[in-house]
């Protein structure tokens, strides 16, 4: 390190830098001698931990308090403790399969919608990502261009993606124009429950597929080429090569993609909120939108109920995350 006096002829930023470099050195050197190198690691992580504590851990803890308290007041000191009443309200159902038998029917409608959405969206996402990755891994013309094209939607803001598709799908939008031009009847895509649901799945897959394709592509490229060469020499068919070599070796990556897309599927909000607003009715209202509307959009902010719902969702996501960690560790062991 340069000595302080040797910065004296440098421009002022360099001199300021030199001053900072030298000013605290005695303090930090003394501190390191006292607490050791491992202790110093905590000192440097501390600022980030403070931020994490203030902006992540503290709100999470407050959320637990909101879930255990009542009233529509925002300030925690004005909210009375009510124990598990919010959870009881959410879980009060004659039959969990019949939403109209539940006290909080909108919550269960959102849960049912989310389960159905996640099942379809993840299935389609993983399947299409695998197909895309296999194609992009092959020797095709313009491979670099297509790789970029698949990834572009990932770079777009979810709001932009949803707005674009909303314009395409509206009654006098591009898609209906094509349908009418080819002799068909106009379809109210976003005014029909089934079609709305389909398009929320489609738009979600379209906008996020590139990310998972990239992960799977990396997984494919990590498979040793010698295995394929050996298979070719042995005269193994392409189909057998795929099922006996590609898929088993791609499986760990595939499982990571599956878990990540499951987590993302449960968290789906922005695209759907802009595209359909949760409608028609509550046909495309998923769990995160339910939480948002319950907490903020209704005139009476049912913060406790929303917080309780968010904790239930967090528990589900925690389970998925633990599964992913277990699979990753298992993959490393093997």
């Amino acid at each position: 390190m340069k000595r302080l006096e040797s910065y004296s002829t440098d421009p002022w930023p360099a001199r300021a830098y030199g001053f900072v470099m030298q000013a605290g050195e005695p303090f930090f050197s003394a501190l390191q001698r006292r607490i050791g190198i491992k202790g110093m690691a905590y000192v440097f992580v501390a600022p980030n931990l403070i931020f994490f504590g203030l902006f992540v851990a503290l709100p999470m803890a407050l959320n637990v308090w909101y879930a255990l308290s009542g009233s529509n007041r925002l300030l925690i000191q004005e909210r009375p403790f009510i124990g598990l009443d919010n959870f009881r309200a959410l879980l009060d159902c004659a039959s969990f399969l019949e939403v109209n038998s539940c006290r909080q029917d909108r919550f269960w409608r959102a849960v049912h919608n989310s389960i159905f959405f996640v099942f379809l969206q993840v299935g389609a996402m993983v399947l299409l990502s695998v197909v895309a990755a296999l194609l992009l891994n092959g020797k095709i013309k313009g491979r670099g261009f297509f790789r970029a094209v698949f990834f572009f939607p990932v770079l777009l803001s979810p709001v932009v993606v949803a707005l674009i598709w909303k314009w395409v799908l509206q009654p006098d939008g591009l898609l209906n124009a094509l349908i009418v031009w080819s002799g068909g009847e106009r379809i109210a895509f976003l005014h029909n429950a089934s079609w709305s649901f389909f398009w929320t799945v489609f738009v979600s897959v379209w906008s996020h597929m590139g990310f998972y394709t990239l992960i799977l592509l990396a997984g494919l490229q990590a498979i040793p080429q010698e295995l394929y060469e050996a298979a070719e020499i042995d005269g193994t068919s392409a189909r057998r090569t795929f099922w006996r070599i590609t898929m088993p070796l791609l499986l760990p990556t595939l499982l990571v993609v599956l878990i990540l897309s499951l987590i993302r599927g449960v968290q789906a909000f922005e695209e759907v909120f802009i595209l359909t607003g949760g409608g028609p009715g509550t046909a495309t209202q998923y769990i995160v939108q339910y939480i948002y509307e319950t907490a903020f959009a209704n005139q009476v902010h049912l913060l406790g109920l929303a917080a309780a719902a968010s904790l239930l969702v967090a528990a589900a996501l925690m389970l998925l995350t633990l599964m992913q960690l277990r699979i990753s560790y298992h993959g490393k062991d093997t």
């Binding site: 605290g24 300030l75 009654p171 409608g279 009715g281 959009a297």
Partner: protein, 439 residues
């Protein structure tokens, strides 16, 4: 191993800079700008009122060089969804334009002690003052002033009626008369929306009251009487037989507000149930594209009424500059300024003096002039129940329950009767969250 101090100091410098940025961004909204006190107004616009207000405030600032007024123009959704959370957290502007007059009243400041001439407010705004007074607040407090008095009123596309060769129903026509005529017109001219209502519990409340709905029982909600149910059945049946298109109400979820003003301006709606705040917008967006006008509120079994409403400019309790806020409010409410504001925005004034003298509206549009005349006439015919409901502090709980549950029935997620049951439990839940028990 010795850890280089360079890395540590660089990390600390980044941390320090980012902390300063965070706290700088969280700085007071009412910063002193040089010598002038900054007063912030959060404002949404239906038409041109933002521009008109800005012009008026520029003149205010010239006369009052110690005050700088910042007009933050936001979408209506921000006022409805974000402002309440800001106010609850003690943040927010010094003044805001709000429509949930009673629901947010606990955040309003009583400016009476700061006004030069409080008697002027008592004389000219007495009928609407109770709408802002918070429960437990001062019974003669001045908690804001209406930025417009509004009335729900239908607009019809007269050109479509002419093209269909169907005469307009008369001034005492019933809801059924208008539904039949609008459907006939739409079928003939292939308009997608025979009748459209703004997706709002406030809008359908006029229909409910005209069908005999009592809405309130003292200071408690009383929704589920025969009048209300028959009104909601009409809405449900209209969606079933195509008189109201599911593409409008049905396409949104929960309590999401959805107007049909764009559809009306695009000549897609025959009969549009909205309100007088649309007049300045239609003067611009429709202009002479087609012939349109406001018509008297259709009649039900109990009367022919709309719902009063409007928006108000309210001072916020958390402001650090109450005197300056009172001066801005007093300027806005002064007769010449209030007169000019309403003349240019084409809104109905809540000012008793101006209501008597009349407002010289700045428009040559004959459709607008006719519509304003109809609206002024309709104010006198508005049911007292409607005024009471508009002033009811918790009316939004009722409006939200109505719109979200009826919408579910329309989309076949539940029967209409089930939707009534759910409405009632939503209302009970909403009141319970506010610490109020109702049966």
């Amino acid at each position: 191993m010795f850890i280089r101090f360079k890395t540590a100091a660089a990390s600390l410098a980044v941390f320090g800079a980012s902390t300063l940025m965070v706290f700088g961004a969280m700085g007071s909204a009412n910063a002193q700008t040089g010598q002038a006190t900054q007063v912030r107004i959060m404002w949404y616009s239906d038409g041109n009122e933002g521009e008109v207000l800005r012009d008026l405030l520029d003149r205010f600032e010239k006369q009052n060089t110690d005050i700088k007024v910042v007009l933050d123009r936001v979408p209506y959704k921000t006022i409805v969804e974000q402002l309440p959370a800001l106010l609850d957290s003690g943040q927010g502007p010094d003044l805001a334009r709000v429509t949930d007059l009673g629901g947010l009243s606990r955040h309003y400041l009583d400016v009476r002690p700061y006004l030069k001439n409080a008697a002027y407010f008592d004389e000219n705004f007495a009928s609407t003052m109770p709408w802002f007074r918070p429960a437990g607040g001062s019974k003669n407090g001045i908690y804001g002033v209406m930025s417009q008095l509004a009335l729900t009123i239908p607009f019809v596309n007269v050109t479509l009626f002419e093209q269909a060769g169907i005469p307009l129903p008369g001034p005492k026509a019933t809801w059924d008369d208008w539904a039949k005529a609008s459907k006939a017109v739409a079928d003939k001219v292939k308009a997608p929306y025979p009748i459209a209502f703004d997706r709002s519990g406030h809008r359908v409340s006029g229909l409910a009251i005209s069908m005999g709905g009592k809405m309130l029982d003292g200071d408690k909600p009383s929704l589920l009487d025969d009048g209300f149910k028959s009104a909601m059945k009409k809405v449900y049946d209209w969606h079933g037989n195509g008189t109201m298109s599911k593409a409008h109400w049905g396409s949104a979820g929960g309590t999401t507000y959805r107007g049909a003003n764009e559809e009306f301006a695009n000549a897609q709606v025959v009969f549009y149930m909205s309100g007088t705040w649309q007049l300045p917008q239609f003067a611009k967006t429709v202009a002479k594209s087609f012939n349109w006008q406001a018509v008297p509120n259709p009649c039900g079994t109990a009367g022919c009424t709309g719902m009063p409403g409007g928006a108000a400019l309210v001072p916020i309790k958390a402001t650090k500059h109450p005197r300056e806020v009172a001066r801005v409010l007093e300027y806005f409410a002064s007769e010449p300024v209030y007169q000019e504001y309403h003349a240019r925005t084409l809104f109905l004034p809540a000012h008793a003096g101006l209501a008597k003298k009349g407002v010289a509206y700045q428009t040559d549009d004959s459709n607008v002039k006719k519509s304003l005349a109809v609206a002024v006439e309709q104010v006198a015919l508005t049911s007292p129940i409607a005024f009471q409901l508009q002033g009811y502090e918790h009316n939004r709980i009722m409006f939200n329950a109505i719109i979200s549950r009826v919408n579910q029935a329309i989309n076949n997620e539940m029967s209409l009767n089930d939707s009534f049951t759910r409405m009632q439990s939503d209302i009970v839940e909403g009141f319970a969250a506010k610490g109020i028990k109702i049966p």
